[in-house]
Amino acid sequence: LAVAKRSADVFLNIPFADSHEFLYIALIAGLVALRLNPRCVLEIPPQQSRLQRLYQLIASCPYSIHDLSYVRLSRTGHRVPRFNMPFELGIAVAVALSKESAEAHQFRIFEARPYRVQQSLSDLLGHDAYIHRGCADGVLESLLDVFSDLPEAPELVEMRRLCRDLRRFRRERLGNNVFTPRAFSNLVVAARKLVET
């Protein structure tokens, strides 16, 4: 595996659920602290060519992180699992397999509990997940692990501080729903500004 393009972009495939807001904020803060640039499907406006643009966005990022901890049966309506995350992971796998060269896309999987992926998605045998234990600290530790080859990585304590400040920004300056294009943009820019200031 190697870097796809000389870019700092990391595609985030995460659940847009209130219960997973900690994951969303921690990933944005952690990646910005690592001097990387978080990208997300929220940046794509809803329209007909959405799938194509999603493919292009994933393909333009050298790395992608896929959290599968929210893959579970819904409690209301049809009792079906949410497939968005595994679907986007499938696109990333296709992108990664389409180029077996130094420019290949690299993907990694995050989970809250060990051995769950092996049960829910046995096709991914050999691609073990990073376990974040369902907490922000676990997410930051997993990010340090997954980017352990990155030179000049920050200390965990610095990442925690940025994460705490970003949570405060979210609490004080953003509305109820943070899973909107506007909120995502604000969080990414605020995290970067906090690093620069």
């Binding site: 700092a8 352990s148 965990l156 920004f169 004080e172 604000n186 990414v188 820019v189 970067r192 500004k193």
Partner: protein, 73 residues
């Protein structure tokens, strides 16, 4: 570093062949994300307030020392 300490960490890290370039600055990001001037100003104000609060924040020990000194007077 942590991956050597954790037993449940068999997953491979990303292989970094080439160091990624410097990510876009906050101003560049604000442009590409089409943030309004108002949003930019809010973010800047927040970042400055966080920095200044950290600069002026005293440790619990320093606060106790100052209070004790004030009581002696």
């Amino acid at each position: 570093m942590l991956r050597f300490l954790r037993k449940d960490m068999p997953a491979k890290p990303f292989r970094i062949v080439e160091t990624p370039p410097e990510p876009p600055s906050a101003d560049e990001l604000a442009r590409t994300h089409h943030l309004s001037q108002r949003e930019k100003a809010t973010i800047t104000k927040f970042a400055i307030s966080v920095r200044s609060s950290k600069g002026s924040r005293k440790s619990a020990g320093a606060v106790r020392f100052k209070r004790a000194a004030a009581r002696k007077k």
